[in-house]
Structures are given as structure tokens and as C-alpha cells.
């Protein structure tokens, strides 16, 4: 009974802290503070996921939600004019109205949620997943859902990532690179980057039976790229441009290749042949890890890397005439 109450106290504390930090991140009139609060908020979310027995999410959130998003926002902060640093939140009657409307929306949602959760035991897909897990080729249910039961969704998700990074690459050149690091950071990088690569390899392999998988591993590799970039390595450790292009599409390519092959064998699209699931999942995950890592690294660089060479001159003849 005592332990139960302690858990409830912890839950209330965590929930309160999360709301408080979320509030601080969106309501601080100083943009710099907002970014810092948001990073802390991401870290706290990782703790909440761990509390709710979602270690896969905790790993991903710590690497992406707190780490990569934070790095992205901090870099973007560099470009922000100083005038944006104060008074960033609107005040006045319309602002009060918006606050009131959000509050009403939250109250409505809360009412619906409490009533839905309180109703008779809802139908869940969890039992189906548990029943089919032995046939999936992996024993981590999250990996089984992502790479087997709902593999088509993950394929499309990789396509979304590719679309996002193509948009970033098309928008212009990369952000200014950072200065070369001093000997201390350089020495740290020499240790940290290999460690991150090994961790990524471990997470990829462990994803079959324990928390981990392509997303967490890709995020780890991307973290190594961000560290290198911050340390003054302009290329962020990425390979040459043609290889980058191959890596960006590697995840989708592996998925489609496996899908087309299974279709050719007379099975459904991405319906793995019996006994092959584990190996095929590992193959797709390995390719997806590289693709996700390259995507996130290029997203952090924020545009077309200078190592890609100058942009090809646009075909001026085909451009539509300017209209007034």
C-alpha cells in the first residue's frame, strides 16, 4: 500500500514538472529561455516514457527529443535577431481569448478522455500483437509492429523523412560551420564518436529482443554527426556526396527491394517468407539506420552541404516570365 502511494506521489510530481516545464517553454517571453526549457522538457519526457514502461520511446526521446531537437533549436537561435529575444509572447484581449479557448478545448478533451477510459474494457490490439509475436521473427513487440506487422507504415514514414530532408536540401546552402574545437573538445570527440557508433550498432542489434532498433540507432549516429559538426568538422563526418545520396534512400530501397521480392515469390508485399523474418528485419533495419542517421545529420546541417559542390545553374530558358 505504501509503495503504491509513493508511485502516485511520483506520478503527480512528474506530471506537474512536465506541465510546468512545458508552460515555461511556451510562455517565457525570452526566446533563449524557451529553448533551454524545451530541452529540459524533452529530457523529462524521456523519464515519463521510462515510467510508463516504454523504454524504446525513452531512448528515442533522450536522443532525439532532447538531444537533436535541442541542438537544432540552439543553432536556429544563432540566426534569430536580438529583438526577438524579448516580448515574444503576445498579450492583450485576443491573447486572453486564445488562452481561454485552449483551456476550454483541454477541458472538453479531458472530459471525453475520462469517460472513454472509464468505460468498459476497450478493445485493444495488444492481445493480437502478443499472440502473433512468436511468428514475427523478433521478440521486441515494438520492433515487431514497426518492421513486420505494420512494415508498410514504416516504409511510408521513411518516405516522409526523405521528403523532409529533400525540402531542406532544396531550400539553400548549409548553415555556417562552427570554428574548429580546442584540444579539450577534440580529445573528447575522439572518445565520444567511436563510443556513439558502437552504441548505435548495439542498439540496432539489440532492437530484435530488447529496447532499441533502427530509430534509436540512427539517432545515435546522427548525434555523433552533430558532435563532429559542433567540433568544427564541416562535413559532420558524412561521406562524399554521391554516397550521401545513396545512404539517404537506403532505407526505402531496402524496404522496396524486400517488398518486391516477396511479391515476386507469390507472397504479399512485405509479407516475409517463413523463417526469414528475423534476417530480413535486420537487413531493413540496418539500411534504415543509415538512412535515418544521414537524414537527421543533413537536417541538422540545415541545407545543401558545401561539400556537395556548387549548385547547377538553373535552366533560365525554362523559367516562366516574371509577372507584375
Amino acid at each position: 500500500m505504501m509503495a503504491m502511494q509513493l508511485w502516485q506521489l511520483l506520478d503527480l510530481l512528474l506530471a506537474g514538472l512536465t506541465l510546468g516545464l512545458g508552460w515555461a517553454a511556451v510562455s517565457s517571453p525570452d526566446l533563449r529561455r524557451s529553448v533551454v526549457f524545451f530541452i529540459a522538457f524533452g529530457l523529462l519526457l524521456a523519464v515519463v516514457w521510462a515510467r510508463l514502461k516504454a523504454p524504446d520511446l525513452a531512448l528515442a526521446e533522450a536522443a532525439i527529443g532532447a538531444g537533436l531537437s535541442g541542438a537544432l533549436l540552439l543553432s536556429a537561435l544563432r540566426d534569430e535577431p536580438d529583438t526577438a529575444m524579448v516580448g515574444d509572447v503576445r498579450v492583450g484581449p485576443i491573447a486572453a481569448l486564445i488562452s481561454l479557448a485552449s483551456l476550454a478545448l483541454a477541458a472538453g478533451f479531458a472530459w471525453v478522455t475520462v469517460h472513454t477510459l472509464g468505460s468498459a474494457d476497450p478493445v485493444r490490439l495488444a492481445d493480437e500483437i502478443t499472440a502473433q509475436l512468436p511468428n514475427s521473427g523478433v521478440s521486441n513487440p515494438v520492433t515487431a509492429v514497426l518492421l513486420n506487422f505494420r512494415a508498410y507504415d514504416t516504409l511510408l514514414e521513411l518516405a516522409v523523412l526523405l521528403a523532409a530532408v529533400l525540402g531542406i536540401l532544396a531550400l539553400g546552402p548549409a548553415r555556417r560551420p562552427y570554428r574548429a574545437a580546442g584540444p579539450l573538445l577534440d580529445g573528447l570527440l575522439r572518445w565520444l564518436v567511436p563510443l556513439l557508433i558502437v552504441t548505435a550498432g548495439y542498439l540496432l542489434w539489440a532492437g530484435a529482443h530488447a529496447p532499441g532498433g533502427a530509430f534509436q540507432a540512427g539517432a545515435m549516429l546522427a548525434a555523433a554527426a552533430v558532435m563532429l559538426r559542433l567540433g568544427g568538422h564541416t562535413s559532420a563526418g558524412l561521406p562524399r556526396a554521391p554516397i550521401q545520396r545513396i545512404l539517404l534512400t537506403a532505407g526505402i530501397a531496402a524496404f522496396v527491394l524486400v517488398g518486391v521480392t516477396t511479391t515476386g515469390l507469390g507472397l504479399g508485399f512485405l509479407q516475409y517468407p517463413e523463417g526469414w523474418s528475423g534476417a530480413l528485419i535486420l537487413l531493413i533495419e540496418a539500411a534504415a539506420t543509415l538512412a535515418i542517421a544521414t537524414t537527421l545529420a543533413l537536417a541538422y546541417i540545415g541545407g545543401r552541404p558545401t561539400t556537395w559542390g556548387p549548385e547547377k545553374p538553373a535552366n533560365t530558358a525554362g523559367e516562366p516570365a516574371e509577372r507584375d
Binding site: 506520478d11 512545458g22 503576445r90 515494438v142 509492429v145
Partner: protein, 94 residues
């Protein structure tokens, strides 16, 4: 109905509303993006709370898989939004 489930579900809804309010009330694009991310985190928390089934039970893996892809899509959308914002500012200076 579990205490943790309902607590975190309501926290998620609170975060959703907070983020929505923030993304509407902020002046700078960066602030709006932060608001939008808090909004998304609220949705994720609602999902994960519903997946939780108590200390002895294995949680529902399907919402976890959805949220995992959601986290990765959210960060790439954030990066795209920031790149768009940078381009916008550059074109204003030209």
C-alpha cells in the same frame, strides 16, 4: 482505470492545449515551432498513457510504435520548418 493512466493522459491533454496556445501567441517562428513541439508531445503522452496497463502488465506496443515514428517525424518536420524560416528571413533581407 489506473491512476497513472489517467494522470498522464490528462497531463498530455494539458500539454496539447499549452502548446497550441503557445504556437498561436508567439511572435517568432522559433517560438511557434517550440509550441508546436510541446503540442505534439502532449499527443504522444496521451497515446503512451493509454498504452500503459499497470505495473505487472506488458504495455500495448502499437501506440509505442506510433509514437516512436512520431518522434522522428516531428524532429524532421521541425528541421524543415527551421530551414523554411531561415530561407524566409534571407529572402526578406534581399
Amino acid at each position: 482505470m489506473l491512476f497513472a493512466e489517467i494522470t498522464y493522459a490528462l497531463t498530455g491533454i494539458g500539454l496539447f492545449a499549452l502548446g497550441l496556445r503557445g504556437s498561436l501567441l508567439r511572435r517568432s517562428l522559433l517560438g511557434r515551432i517550440i509550441g508546436f513541439n510541446v503540442c505534439g508531445a502532449g499527443v504522444f503522452m496521451l497515446f503512451v498513457a493509454i498504452a500503459y496497463r499497470g505495473p505487472e502488465q506488458v504495455p500495448d506496443a502499437l501506440p509505442h510504435a506510433l509514437v516512436l515514428t512520431g518522434i522522428v517525424v516531428a524532429v524532421s518536420a521541425t528541421a524543415l520548418a527551421l530551414a523554411l524560416g531561415r530561407r524566409l528571413r534571407e529572402s526578406e533581407h534581399e
